[in-house]
Symmetry: C2
């Protein structure tokens, strides 16, 4: 029944915020062009990198980069390298987190994880390459001929932005690793809500903040705008994680694309386990309200970021 199925797809798409729809439309060709330009002399590694990045999820981080850039008056094009770079870091972190010596997961968004689809060495290298590619993305936009490795950077203004972006992304990439290590160390331990929030601020929050900051920098944000957007990103990142924990309790495996109840099975601390389900849901709502309040100074151009925050809290996968 192709017609019914198309209608269902349109309906699902219509419920997505415009920012996510536009992001997904724009991001796919951008990513394909970028990955093709950076392919190396090994087909298996090229394929593993493509695989890791194609199993795409919602592209929340590129959407945040673009939304932040638009919210300060920047263009879609200005934040392309920001969108690519944060998604490459996200992709690398998922591939490494899934490895046998880490979370040892077989499924990611309903597909075999990278090391299951290929092999452990290839997955490790694909992750390593993706971290490097994130920083390639930030500097590709600076040269007229991104295919030429030795092409020179000519615009100081763009270089200044890229240097700030590199700094923010490198710090986030560093912090994420500490978050993953804290998360592993906390398995089976009894920890406080504050300790859990610290883990998440590092493990997932750092990159969400970087996505927003890189986009804002691309749009030439003022200091006040950067501060407001950072507050937004910090609250949103935590809200996102609290809601993720809630979904792990109330969601079902088919919708999530991963095993529901996986956190409990791994003896991982979660907000519902520490606070109770109702209080965890209320916390996610309160953090989302904080995020929305932070955007007040940005006015109408921040509307896509508001819609995105509300959508992320209402999502069921």
């Amino acid at each position: 029944m192709p017609i019914a199925s198309e209608a269902a797809t349109s309906l699902a798409a219509a419920s997505l915020p415009e920012l996510l729809v536009q992001t997904q439309t724009r991001f796919t060709p951008l990513l394909q062009d970028f990955l093709a330009r950076h392919q190396g002399h090994d087909e298996r590694l090229n394929a593993a990198i493509d695989y890791a990045m194609a199993n795409g999820g919602k592209r929340v981080r590129p959407a945040l980069a673009w939304g932040a850039c638009l919210s300060v008056g920047g263009s879609w094009q200005a934040a392309e390298s920001a969108a690519l770079s944060v998604e490459c870091i996200h992709g690398y972190s998922l591939v490494h987190d899934d490895l046998p010596c880490m979370d040892d997961d077989n499924l990611r968004r309903g597909q075999p994880t990278c090391h299951r689809q290929f092999d452990e060495a290839t997955a490790l290298l694909a992750g390593d390459a993706l971290q490097a590619l994130a920083f390639c993305a930030l500097s590709d936009g600076l040269v007229d001929a991104p295919n030429a490795d030795a092409a020179r950077v000519s615009s100081s203004a763009h270089a200044l932005i890229a240097a700030e972006q590199t700094r923010a992304l490198a710090q986030a990439a560093r912090d994420m690793v500490y978050g993953q290590r804290l998360d592993l160390a906390a398995e089976g331990q009894s920890i406080t809500v504050d300790a859990l929030s610290q883990i998440h601020r590092y493990k997932t929050g750092a990159l969400i903040r970087a996505a927003v900051r890189l986009g804002a920098l691309a749009g030439n944000a003022s200091e006040a705008q950067l501060a407001a957007l950072d507050h937004y990103a910090d609250a949103l990142g935590l809200a996102f994680q609290v809601h993720d924990d809630v979904l792990d309790v109330i969601g079902d495996t088919a919708t999530l694309g991963k095993q529901s109840g996986a956190d409990a099975a791994h003896a991982k601390a979660t907000y519902p386990a520490l606070l109770g389900l109702g209080a965890a849901q209320a916390l996610a709502r309160q953090l989302t309200d904080d995020a929305l309040a932070a955007l007040a100074p940005l006015g109408e151009p921040a509307e896509p970021l508001r819609t995105l925050a509300n959508y992320l809290l209402a999502r069921d996968h």
Copy 2:
């Protein structure tokens, strides 16, 4: 017998080129300060990162960065971030290359490898963090307060250099991963000398070229100087690898700090195996001569790079 032992140490130090002596003296406190500034909230990961970077080797890549900067009239200080960043990438690549799913090595420079000293997850994360820290290093130098994550970059001229350096380092980091994958894929295969050289150009040559390029950029090198230094680095990188293969055949385990004959045991293609020992030694000499010839336009300030090239070919470990 402390006096005899000190005398022996001095003698060994005296035989080192001045560039390596100065590099080792300058690099250690620089690295310690850098790592201390970037420590995160997990002692075990901090310790693993320190361990990976402390087991130092000769610091050839920082020496190349500094030598290149000096060769174009730049200062030691200008290339500090270049020296740090290339050594962080080198350190990360060794930790990941030693992992069980890769080369599965127990010893590195006579010490337990990082995953043997700690554990596999911690070693994987230490490597991941070191790749991020390499890019932190390139942007730390741009701000007045490197301890403050959100400190702003103010100098466009320095940002332009950092953006070029980021681009060169990210490309090298990407290429190295392909080199490691090609190397793994070639194990037990019969390959040509050209294919072997391609592996090495990616696996080790890319970072040696980046070290020289980052240093030259730090010293505001002209296009002609960049081209000459790139030629030097390309030839030197290959010479270094050919000589390494030769040492694996003729060296002994105690001097090398790793198992001699390890390449043959892993069924890895080597220059001596493909060309014969004498021809491999001659190739290393010829490549070193190429590297020296490339430096001619740079005159006297390139003398430290010449001495280094000759030293690397004469080394027995």
